[in-house]
């Protein structure tokens, strides 16, 4: 036998188990009733807790990013908008930034600022035409393709369309690997090699 530190308690409990009475039965009933009441009240509250979880894309909507003519061909600029789902007390955090690149005419690429590695804000350097991430060293080319560092893929992009001379993007949620606006399959090869050597 293992001499556990406190044997006295186990002894009392065993004595108690022997007595089966009406009182004991009522105690069990009262516990069951309490459990039922608690479950009945608590179950809907789980719905309250999980409230923020919505269907895929439910947070997204079309957002105007200004006139097409605001953007110059071949240039990448930071554009900002207020997230469609925002509270009055969000302050500046209700704002979202993205990079708009007008390729030619009505052809655009709209990148998320969030690095595809772990979401830090990438910075655009027009001189070297690279996006660089300050956190873990992810670097992307001007077309969003991965150039160096830990990211496994290129920058996230938003779907866009041009309506009546206005640039609209489909956004509303922080882009992550679980909900990226557009999935780029496969790993791009490192520059100068044929094999995808990353790291």
């Amino acid at each position: 036998m293992n001499p556990e530190p406190n044997q006295a308690f186990t002894k009392v409990a065993r004595d108690g188990e022997a007595t089966v009475s009406r009182r004991r039965f009522l105690l069990k009933v009262s516990i069951a009733i309490n459990a039922l009441v608690a479950a009945a009240i608590a179950t809907p509250v789980i719905g309250y807790l999980l409230g923020p979880i919505r269907k895929r894309g439910a947070y997204n909507s079309w957002i105007a990013l200004g006139q097409v003519s605001d953007y110059h061909e071949g240039e990448t600029v930071l554009a900002t908008y207020r997230n469609p789902h925002t509270d009055a007390w969000d302050g500046d955090t209700g704002k979202v930034a993205c990079y708009v690149r007008r390729e030619k005419g009505n052809t655009f690429t709209v990148f998320a600022v969030n690095c595809a590695h772990l979401g830090c804000p990438v910075r655009w350097f027009p001189q070297s035409e690279l996006f660089m991430c300050p956190c873990h060293g992810g670097v992307y080319y001007s077309n969003g393709e991965r150039a160096a560092g830990p990211p496994e893929r290129g920058l996230f992009t938003y779907d866009y369309h041009v309506v009546g001379g206005k640039l609209m993007i489909n956004a509303g949620q922080m882009p992550t690997l679980a909900n990226e606006a557009k999935l780029v399959k496969g790993i791009l090869p490192c520059p100068g090699t044929s094999k995808p050597t990353i790291g």
Binding site: P5, D90, G91, V122, R123, S128, G137, V139, I187, P191
Partner: protein
């Protein structure tokens, strides 16, 4: 009878706590454990209380709203008398608490205190450690500056990698689609209600177990823990060679705790409050987010994980680590307690400490990241352009303007992502430099599209000058032979590019 004695008796006749308190205070502890090695647990508890008190005082002013949290910290820092000091106490108290809790854990581990019958004490301690780290992280979030904002972004990005339910976890964690007011409210709730309440309950139970099971005796090599005999041996030890906790041992605890609280206050006074950094405006992308000191090692680890195993390691390694800590007392709960006879335990502590220290140190200067202002902040040292030709000087301008400096050091300044270029000409020939610049490779982006042929020529001409005066530049010997036998026409570099 004086009035205070009467009042005391009046209360005591009702609450009847005197006997219990006296018994607890005077319980015998092994005389050797009245040691300076046994003070870290009580200091952790004192720091927890200090955090609660300073936290309540800060909560009088702090506004847990995404739009106002940052401004309310500015009011605390700059407008309210001693607001900065209380923020300093809370921030440094947090740093000290993580440190003391970790030391306490190492001590308990090395002294074999987690062994029978104190398994549950250890398990509660593991949860207390996790909650201490949880408080440190949520506290950093409550600072709600740029570091907090992007730190949450990193957290959400890690969550998003969970298979199947990643997206749902992100939305649950953020309380909505983006990092905003709902996110701060969630972390406020965790930091102020959920975790502290659980911590107090766990810490109380932890202390209760120490009282009931007795403090771990000083480990003696050769004295093994056996289920059958341990408790009897311990009782004999405390009765033969014991001292009452009060006041045989408690004075050391009290002195150390006072010293720690004083150290927190000195740090708060001299080093001031921690942050906040810039406003949490996600449209300001000119930021270099960094976690607090005790999370730097995670930040570093995330930079070094190979992408192929990154996600599994991120998600599984913490779970394995926690499980290992939790099952430790069940797989190694008996036998030798002394560190003299537990080389694996000692080695483990040393290796882990060295590992964490190395990663933390790397996290302080992030050699894996481009230095975002390297190209605009660090000038090319004068001696590198002294006595150079116009073409080479033009190359230095290209070098600087195309952000090469963000990743390459020169004269000890600049990013460390790539190698320092002070003597690059001794390592790469002209052709190799052209290839490396235009095609990239080895984790360097290709610049072929963003540099004109003339710029490449100038840049390579500049890089060719970078070598110590006593070391020649690297040359392609075969080309030299080819040129002497059958001299090629003198062509500019871009002409020989494919």
């Amino acid at each position: 009878m004086p009035w205070y004695k009467q009042a005391y008796d009046w209360v005591e006749r009702r609450v009847q706590l005197e006997g219990f308190v006296k018994e607890s205070a005077e319980h015998p502890v092994p005389s050797k454990t009245a040691s300076w090695w046994y003070v870290f647990g009580s200091a952790s508890f004192v720091l927890l209380l200090l955090q609660i008190v300073t936290g309540i005082l800060l909560a009088l002013v702090y506004v847990p709203s995404a739009g106002s949290a940052w401004s309310s910290l500015q009011v605390l820092n700059h407008q309210l008398p001693l607001g900065w000091f209380l923020r300093g106490m809370h921030g440094w108290g947090s740093n000290f608490m993580v440190a003391v809790v970790l030391i306490h854990m190492c001590q308990v581990f090395l002294f074999g205190a987690y062994k029978f019958p104190r398994e549950l004490t250890w398990i509660l301690g593991v949860f207390l450690l996790l909650m201490t780290l949880g408080m440190a992280f949520t506290g950093q979030v409550l600072r709600f500056d740029q570091d907090a904002y992007w730190g949450l972004g990193i957290g959400a990005s890690i969550m998003s990698r969970v298979p199947f339910i990643g997206r749902q976890l992100v939305e649950f964690m953020l309380g909505g689609p983006i990092i905003a007011g709902a996110t701060l409210s969630r972390f406020f709730t965790l930091h102020v209600f959920v975790i502290p309440a659980t911590m107090l309950a766990f810490a109380s139970l932890h202390v209760w177990l120490v009282l009931k099971l007795g403090i771990n005796e000083w480990p003696t090599p050769g004295r093994l823990v056996k289920r059958e005999t341990y408790i009897q041996e311990y009782n004999e030890l405390t009765h033969k060679d014991g001292v009452p906790f009060f006041s045989g041992a408690i004075w050391k605890d009290a002195m150390f705790s006072a010293g720690i609280v004083l150290a927190v206050a000195v740090c708060a006074l001299l080093l001031g409050p921690i942050g906040p950094t810039g406003v949490p405006d996600p449209t300001i992308v000119q930021t270099v987010p960094k976690p607090d000191f005790f999370f730097l090692w995670i930040y570093s680890a995330l930079a070094f994980l190979p992408p192929s195993i990154e996600t599994p390691v991120m998600l599984i390694a913490p779970v394995i680590g926690i499980i290992v800590m939790l099952v430790l007392p069940f797989v190694a709960g008996l036998g030798e307690k002394s560190w003299y006879r537990r080389p694996v335990a000692v080695l483990l502590v040393v290796v882990l400490a060295a590992g964490f220290a190395t990663l933390t140190h790397l996290g302080t200067y992030v050699p894996w990241s481009p230095q975002m202002d390297g190209w605009s902040a660090d000038p090319v040292p004068v001696h590198f352009v002294d006595q150079t030709k116009p073409l080479e000087r033009q190359g230095a301008i290209v070098f600087q303007q195309k952000q090469c400096r963000n990743c390459h050091q020169m004269g000890g300044l600049g990013g460390r992502r790539g190698p320092s270029l002070d003597d690059v000409a001794t390592r790469l020939t002209e052709d190799q430099l052209v290839r490396q610049v235009t095609q990239g490779g080895g984790n360097m982006p290709a610049y072929g599209k963003t540099l004109s042929p003339a710029q490449v020529t100038a840049l390579v001409a500049f890089l060719e000058t970078l070598h110590p005066s006593n070391q020649p530049v690297a040359i392609d010997a075969s080309r030299h032979v080819a040129e002497t036998n059958n001299p090629a026409p003198k062509e500019p570099v871009e002409a020989i590019r494919p």
